[in-house]
C-alpha cells in the first residue's frame, strides 16, 4: 500500500509539472531522502517494540557536531567512532527507559532537550565547518553514474537491519514485545534487551544519518537535523507501521520516507505556494496514512 501512495504522488507531481519526472530529478529525490530513510529505519524498530523515539533528530544533530569536531583529528576513523557514540547514547536512553520504567515518550523527550543542550555547548552554539571532507566525501559519489551513494547506503542499512531481524529470532521477539509486552516477558523473551537493542540501533542510525548530513552540508550544526523528527515519525506511520507496536516493517518506512520527502521537496518545486503547500502536506499525509494502514491488524485506533 505505501507503494501505491508513492506512485500516486509521483504521478500527481508529474501532472502538476511535467519537468518533474526526469532521471536527474528522481536521483535528487533519492539522495535527499537518504538521511530521512536511515533515521526512520532506526526509529521503526522502537515503534515496532511499542515505544517511540523523539530524540533521533537531536541525536543526529549532536552527531553532526561531533563528527565535524573529530574529523580533523581522527580522519576516517571519525565516522565509525561517531556512529558508535550515537549508538551508545541510544543505548543509555534505552537503559533509562527499561531500568527506571519511564515511558519511552518521556525518556526521549527529555533526551531530545538534553542532547540539544550538549550539542549547543560542545559546538559553542555555532556551526562547525568541515574543511577537509575527504573522508566523508564518498557518500556524495554516484554508483554506476546514476544511483547516489547515500541512497544506496540507506537502502543497504534498511536491507541489512530488515534481513537480520527477519532471519533471526529478533522478529518474534520484537513483534511479541510490541503486541503484548507482558506476554512476551512471561514467555521468557529478553524484552529489556530487545528494547535496549532497538534504542541502540536507532542511535546508530541517527549517527549514520548525521554522517550523510555532514557529507552533504560540509559542516556540523547543533540544530542541523532537528527538523527531521516529525518527518521521520510521519515516514514510519505513512509506511503503515502501527504506532502502537507489533505490526509493520522497515521496508514500509523506506517507502514512507520517500513519500514524505516527495511532499517536502516536490510540492514547492512544482510551484505550490508556501501556504497551500502546508495545507496540501497536511491533507495528503492524513490520506496517505488512511490508505496504508492495515486496519485488520490494528483493532483500536487511538
Amino acid at each position: 500500500m505505501p507503494l501505491i501512495a508513492l506512485v500516486g504522488l509521483v504521478v500527481a507531481l508529474t501532472v502538476a509539472d511535467p519537468d518533474f519526472l526526469t532521471l536527474r530529478s528522481l536521483t535528487a529525490v533519492s539522495r535527499t531522502a537518504a538521511p530521512l530513510i536511515v533515521l526512520a529505519a532506526g526509529a521503526t524498530l522502537i515503534v515496532l517494540c511499542g515505544g517511540i523515539d523523539l530524540s533521533i533528530a537531536a541525536l543526529a544533530s549532536l552527531s553532526t557536531v561531533l563528527l565535524a569536531l573529530w574529523l580533523p583529528d581522527l580522519g576516517g576513523l571519525a565516522t565509525p567512532v561517531v556512529i558508535a557514540v550515537a549508538a551508545a547514547i541510544g543505548a543509555v536512553q534505552g537503559l533509562a527507559h527499561v531500568l527506571l520504567r519511564i515511558p519511552s515518550f518521556i525518556v526521549t523527550l527529555g533526551g531530545m532537550s538534553i542532547l540539544s543542550a550538549v550539542a549547543l555547548v560542545v559546538s559553542g552554539a555555532g556551526t562547525v565547518r568541515v574543511v577537509d571532507d575527504s573522508t566523508v566525501k564518498w557518500l556524495e559519489l554516484y554508483v554506476a553514474g546514476y544511483v547516489p551513494m547515500s541512497a544506496a547506503m540507506a537502502l543497504l542499512v534498511v536491507a541489512l537491519i530488515a534481513a537480520v531481524v527477519k532471519a533471526t529470532p529478533l522478529h518474534s521477539w520484537i513483534s511479541a514485545t510490541g503486541y503484548s509486552e507482558s506476554a512476551a516477558r512471561l514467555a521468557g523473551t529478553p524484552v529489556d534487551l530487545v528494547k535496549i537493542g532497538a534504542f541502540c540501533v536507532s542511535g546508530a542510525c541517527a549517527g549514520f544519518a548525521a554522517v550523510m548530513l555532514v557529507s552533504r552540508q560540509f559542516s556540523g550544526g547543533p540544530t542541523m537535523a532537528d527538523n527531521l523528527l516529525l518527518p521521520a515519525v510521519a515516514a514510519i506511520v505513512v509506511g503503515g507501521t502501527a504506532i502502537t507496536g507489533g505490526h509493520g516493517s522497515l521496508w514500509r518506512s523506506l517507502a514512507g520516507a520517500l513519500v514524505v520527502t516527495l511532499l517536502r521537496v516536490g510540492l514547492p518545486i512544482v510551484g505550490v505556494p508556501s501556504a497551500y503547500e502546508q495545507i496540501l502536506y497536511g491533507v495528503i499525509i492524513v490520506v496517505a496514512v488512511a490508505l496504508t494502514l492495515d486496519w485488520s491488524k490494528v483493532s483500536i485506533i487511538k
Binding site: V29, T32, R129, L141, A163, K166, Q217, N227, T261, I269
Partner: protein, 361 residues
C-alpha cells in the same frame, strides 16, 4: 509465508550489483555542460527567491520585493520557503538544481552559516547564478566561484553597536540593561551581540545585567523579558534586542509589567511595527535592513549576469561580498523610513551595486 530468504536475496543482489558496478562517479550521469556566462534571453531566465517563511513581515517583504523586480522584467519569481529548516532548504536547492539550471537565478537566504557552502557548491556545479544574503562563513568567498556572483549582508557588529550606543545615550550613560539574543547558532546573532559588547566597552556606565536567548521570536522574548524584569526589578533601565521582533515582544512585556515608557528598548531590522514604535517614542532605536530591496537586488544582480549585461569576471572584488548601507533609525528620522521606498532605478544593471557600504571584513 514467513521466509527469511527475501530480504537476504535483496541484500545479495544489492552487493552483487555494487560489485559489478566497477566505478563510482562524482556526478550523476547525463550532466549538462555548465551555463556559459550571460547567454540567456531575458524571457528564458528563471527567477527563484528562497527565504525561511512567508509568515514574518521581514521575509514577506523580501519576497514581495522579488516579485516586484520580476514583474518589472516581465517574469515571475518562484517563491520557496523552508520554514527555518536547514535540511529542507538543502533538499529544495538540490531538487531545484536537478531541474533545468541553464538560466537559473537564485536569491537565497541561507538558514545559517553552515548552509551556505553546500548551496554554493551545488549552484557552481550546476552553473546556476547565485546571490546569497546574510549568512556565510568567513573563509568562503564568492570570488573563488564562477556563478556565485555576490554575497550581501549588513554589518551586524556595527548595527549591534549602533543601537547599543543609542540605548546607552537614552538611559543617560549609566544603568543596567538586559540583552535578548537571537538564535545562538547564527552569525547575525553573534555579530550583533559582539557589537553590543563593543558598545559596552565604550559606555562604562552601562552594566549588562543579564543576557538570554529568545531565538529571534516575539513570543519567547515576551516570556524571557517578563522573567528578567522580575529578576532584576527596577535596575533594568534598558533592553537591547538582537532584532525588532524580540524588541516588540519586550515592549509588550513592559506594558504588562506596568513599566511602559520607563525602560528604553532597541532592536534591529526596521520592520514596519518597530519603525512606528520608534516614531511614537515607545522604542528608542532600530537599524534599517531593507527586506524589499534585498529581495529585489539579489534577483537583479543575477538577472543582469544571466542576460550578459554584467560579466561576473568584471565585477569589482569589493562588490562580490559586501555590506549594504544601513541607517540608525531614531525618532528624528523615523518618518523617512515609515514607508519603505525602493527606487526601480536601483535595479538597473548599472546601479545594482549602488548601496554597497564597504567590502566584507
Amino acid at each position: 509465508m514467513r521466509i527469511a530468504i527475501r530480504p537476504a536475496a535483496v541484500l545479495m543482489t544489492l552487493s552483487l550489483a555494487a560489485a559489478a558496478l566497477a566505478g563510482c562517479s562524482e556526478e550523476a550521469a547525463g550532466d549538462k555542460d555548465p551555463a556559459g556566462a550571460g547567454a540567456c534571453k531575458p524571457a528564458d531566465v528563471k527567477l527563484v527567491g528562497q527565504v525561511r517563511n512567508e509568515s514574518n513581515p521581514y521575509e514577506a517583504s523580501w519576497l514581495a520585493g522579488g516579485d516586484a523586480f520580476a514583474k518589472s522584467v516581465g517574469l515571475t519569481q518562484q517563491r520557496l520557503t523552508y520554514g527555518g529548516d536547514s535540511t529542507k532548504q538543502q533538499e529544495q536547492i538540490s531538487q531545484l538544481l536537478a531541474g533545468d539550471t541553464k538560466c537559473l537565478v537564485m536569491n537565497v537566504l541561507p538558514n545559517g552559516d553552515s548552509d551556505t557552502a553546500p548551496i554554493v557548491k551545488g549552484a557552481d556545479k550546476a552553473g546556476a547564478f547565485l546571490v546569497t544574503q546574510w549568512n556565510k562563513p568567513a573563509d568562503l568567498k564568492p570570488a573563488d566561484y564562477k556563478t556565485w556572483i555576490s554575497h550581501i549582508t549588513y554589518n551586524g557588529v556595527e548595527s549591534g553597536k549602533q543601537i547599543g550606543d543609542a540605548l546607552a545615550k537614552s538611559i543617560g550613560g549609566s544603568g543596567g540593561i538586559i540583552a535578548l539574543q537571537g538564535v545562538l547558532d547564527t552569525a547575525a546573532a553573534k555579530d550583533r551581540f559582539a557589537g553590543l559588547q563593543a558598545s559596552l566597552k565604550e559606555n562604562a556606565g552601562v552594566q549588562l545585567l543579564d543576557q538570554q536567548t529568545a531565538n529571534f521570536s516575539r513570543a519567547e522574548a515576551l516570556t524571557v523579558t517578563k522573567t528578567l524584569l522580575t529578576k532584576h526589578g527596577d535596575k533594568v533601565k534598558g533592553i537591547w534586542a538582537a532584532n525588532d521582533d524580540m524588541a516588540l515582544g519586550a515592549l509588550e512585556a513592559l506594558q504588562q509589567a506596568g513599566k511602559s515608557g520607563k525602560v528604553a528598548v532597541v532592536g534591529i531590522d526596521a520592520v514596519p511595527d518597530a519603525v512606528t514604535a520608534v516614531q511614537n517614542g515607545t522604542m528608542t532605536a532600530t537599524v534599517s535592513s531593507d527586506g524589499t530591496w534585498q529581495g529585489g537586488i539579489g534577483l537583479a544582480i543575477g538577472f543582469c549576469a544571466a542576460t550578459g549585461k554584467l560579466q561576473v569576471k568584471d565585477i569589482a572584488a569589493d562588490n562580490r561580498a559586501f555590506y549594504a548601507e544601513q541607517f540608525l533609525i531614531t525618532k528624528d528620522n523615523a518618518a523617512q523610513f515609515a514607508q519603505p521606498k525602493t527606487d526601480p532605478a536601483d535595479f538597473d544593471c548599472a546601479n545594482v551595486f549602488k548601496r554597497v557600504a564597504g567590502p566584507l571584513k
